[in-house]
Symmetry: C2
Subunit: 119 residues, 2 copies
Amino acid sequence: MPDDALSLTFSALADPTRRALLARLAAGEATVNELAEPFDISLQAVSKHLKVLERAGLITRGRTAQWRPCRLETAPLTEASAWIERYKAGWDGRFDRLEDELRALQEQAHEKGNNDEQD
Amino acid sequence: MPDDALSLTFSALADPTRRALLARLAAGEATVNELAEPFDISLQAVSKHLKVLERAGLITRGRTAQWRPCRLETAPLTEASAWIERYKAGWDGRFDRLEDELRALQEQAHEKGNNDEQD
DNA sequence: TGGTTGATTAACCATCAGGTTGAATACAAG
DNA sequence: CTTGTATTCAACCTGATGGTTAATCAACCA
C-alpha cells in the first residue's frame, strides 16, 4: 500500500461504499450512524471506511458529545482531478495522436528495412 | 474487488507505478520493454500492471510482430474526473457550507432542548 | 530447424483490504 | 453508579494485490 497522497486518494475512491459516503457528505455533515444507515454492512465496517477516507484527507471529523460528525474535504479531490486532467489533456484531441502515428510508421519502416508489409 | 467501471479506474490509478506508466503513455505509444525500462521491478510485474490498466480500459494494446504497443485511452479518465468534479462542485465555495453550519446549529439546539452550551 | 527477442502465464509468497463478531471507550441521562 | 447510545479497537477470516522466478508462447532471424 503506497502511502503518497495521490495513491491514498485514488485508493480511497476505488470503493463504491466510500464513494457513496462521500456523495452523502457532499450534501452536508453527517454522523457515523447516519452515514451507515443506507448500507447492509456493519457499523464497524463503515467506521473502517471512514478511517480510510480520513487518512486520505477526504474527510475531517468533529467531536460533539459522543458524535463524531464527518465533513467532506475537497483538497485531495482537487489534486486527484488535477492529475487526471493533466494526462488527459496531454493527449486528448491534440496533435499527439497524429504525431504518434507518424512515429510508429517511421519505426516500422526502420525495423523492417524497406519491406512494405502491412499487418 | 468491486468490478464496476469507476472502481476499476480509481483502483488502477491508486498505484504510483501505474500512474507513471500512464504518464509515459501520455507522451505516445510504447512497448512493454520501453515502459518497464525506468523501473526496478521485473518485466512480469510491469506486464501485470498493464493488465490492470487494460482491464480498467485505460489502455489498449496493438500487436505488431512480437511487440504489443500500449496506447492511452482517455474515456475512463474522463469518467473518473467527472465523478470527482461532481461532488467537489456540489460543495466547494458554495452556499452549502453556510447552510450546513445553520443546520448543525439547529440540530444542536433541538437535541439539547434549550440548553445553550458551547463546545 | 534452432536460437533470440518480446511478452505473457503459472505457481508461489507476503502483505493488505474489507468484512465479521465481541469487547472497550466516551459521553449523557437517569 | 448504572444504563444506554455512539463509536472505535482488537482479533480473526477470506480473498485480492504486488512482487518474485521459471516456464511458455509468438514472431522474427539465421
